[in-house]
Amino acid sequence: MNKIFEKGGKLYWLHSTVDAFETFLHVPGTVTRKGGHLRDCIDLKRIMILMVIAAAPAALFGMWNVGLQHALATGADTSFWPTVLPFFWYGFLKVLPLYVVAYAVGLGIEFAFAQIRHEEVNEGYLVTGFLIPLIVPVNIPLWMLAVAVAFSVLFCKEVFGGTGMNIWNPALVARAFLFFSYPKEMSGSDCWISLGSEEALVDGFTGATPLALEGSAQYGTGFWDLFIGTVPGSVGETSVIAILLGAAIILWTGIASWKVMVSSVAGALLVGWIGQTAGFTEVPFYTQLLLGGFAFGTVFMATDPVTSAQTETGKWIYGFLIGALCVTVRLFNPGYAEGMMLAILFGNTMAPLIDHCVVSVHIKRKERKSYEY
């Protein structure tokens, strides 16, 4: 690094920024000083980039789906082959500004705080910034997104000490902020479809998500539509198949915990089944897994290693709690049918308590255990 960026140099205030870009380009020649002399070549950059790669299929599909929903709403031709690239391009241009805003605002704050704390810039926001545009409606005004990102990075992350210290998932906090501050822009049937000011809806089209419709007479709410994801919704949340691709990557590499995913699915199925049997809903219980943000939240949000439960037993409880709570909200709250966001934030809040109980039980049991010698 050039001397002017070092302490005492004129441009020291840019130290963390320069360091971030430098270490982005090459692994620095820092050697081990304390403790063990060799280290595994894994670092957080690698882990975070894998998360981004895992979420990429959902993002790419989401962009195409934005184009498709637009065509459906305006009554344009939707046959697959001739339209696949134009749809994608349309969606790409719609989603790109969301990415630019999410990264510019979030990384700006991250870099500033890294400099204030004299630390290196943490890579955590690479993932958060990639996920935020995927969990908001495509029509969200950019200034709202900017405010939400700033709020979540500042008050959900930096005040606690940065990535690794936060209690709640920052991407979800950004979404929760939007939801409670600007409910009009975050729900109903207008926000999910990208429409130009001159364009008119075709007769009978509603842009409401299948979740809000509870599977009623909207086209594109059959099992396969939901599984493939050709339905209205937040940008990246609709396609279960794209999300499963990502899940395979992060499960194989061990970044995400399969225990959280499995137990979350189990929780949703159980409550969904009870709801269906008891007659609270007509939605088949397995459809709960395909609706709304459940799949996206289970794979990319609930498994966040920082905010999820730390212990293995805790992960089972934590995941189950999230899945069960999500579907419970869907069953009993007709006003706001999407329970996943709040279920995960609630799970994040409860995770330390769950861990505390698990660890306490473990310590008690260990004290009682008897040994031969």
Binding site: T23, L25, H26, V27, P28, G29, T30, V31, T32, R33, K34, G35, G36, H37, L38, R39, D40, C41, I42, D43, L44, K45, R46, I47, I49, L50, E120, N122, E123, G124, G161, G162, T163, G164, M165, W252, T253, G254, I255, S257, P305, V306, S308, A309, Q310, T311, E312, K315, V359, H362, I363, K366, E367, Y371, E372, Y373
Partner: protein, 448 residues
Amino acid sequence: MSKPIVLKRGLDIPVKGAADLVISKTIVPDVVAVCPSDYRGLNPRLLVKEGDAVRAGSPVLADKKNPEILVTSPVSGTVAEFVRGEKRRLLAVRIALDAAQQYEDFSHSGALDADGVRDLLLRSGLWTALVQRPYGIVADPAVKPKAIFVSAFDTAPLAPDFEFTLGGEMNAIQAAVDALALLTDGKVHVSVNSSESAFCKLKGVVLHSLEGPHPAGNVGVQISHISPIRKGETVWTVSPAALACIGRLLMKGRVDLRRKVAVTGSMAIETCYVQTLPGMPMSCLRPFVGTNEDSVRIVSGNILSGKNAGIEGYLGAWDTQVTILKEGTEPELLGWIRPLRFRQFSADRSYFSWLTPWKRYDLDTNLHGGPRAFVMSDAYYRRVLPMDIYPLYLVKACLAGDIDKMESHGIYEVLPEDLALCEFVDPSKNPIQAIVSDGIDLMMKEMA
């Protein structure tokens, strides 16, 4: 022997440079050093002056708090120099060797009782081979430990083969084990990793068999599976190499610390064993380092928990391994983003080392990243720690300096070396061993 304890969690780091089973030479240094830092918990008081003549077994240092505990000279010669650091802290006592070695006489007649053994070990300085847990300090002579543990195999990367280095000294080791058994109310536990081990022939001990990757050979891990240390309990551990020295003392009546030391590591010109003395200057190993002295790191001990001695440093008092590694000061262009990176090893599946389990790597000391807060959850670290504790909780308790939490999360059971693999796999590059070591220091201060 009881049923084998099979440990699943752990990691054998596939690094190049294990020592061939040959003794390539005998190194008789001109000078050896006695370093107080090799004896954890010892507060040294000098007993010699520059120019004093000493014999092998003559006291050089005593503990200020417990003057019975002596550190003795491993050789006969003249006290040449005191090496001091900041605030005149004593770093090393350099002793120039005589041409002919003379030994203090520690012979005894008849069978020794417990007090006799204790007295003999204290006078000869070999008491410092007894490590007391919790905390891993030099054993307190006033304490009667619950048991004494010996790990008869080493699973650390490139570790010496005790069968090779000590297989011929089983008589001495038997004598040492018999004597140490008098010092405890419990048993002497010896852990082996194969029923073929020469240590299986030892009498009067409890044999345990352990299987699994590193850290299965760490005595701390073995204790936690055999009889975990609880609050208020004390156990002692002793290394097999030290047992051989104690055995020689008992049988011949002299302090003879010569030992076979494995010279290992990918930068060693020849990987083999040498016969030498503790406190040997690393400069004696120049023939193994060659011309690239500045670009290597010379570690006394193993890769994970050894001390960076450098060419100016010395072999640790109870170390039986030297590792010569390449310093990783070269930046690696686009390192983390390159998909394959075949030359690097990672235990994480986001690289592809798992596809080539037979491969041995030429690893350097690069940190491969920058320091970050802990991001991965406890399980990420637990998969390399076969103990019944939550490593991340313990480390965070140490960071917070919370005595109660450290206690309940198992600080009494671990030494930094037991969590060395957690440090190795940590993507956040935290100095976990240093954190635990500071935690142990805090415990000693607060619980004293």
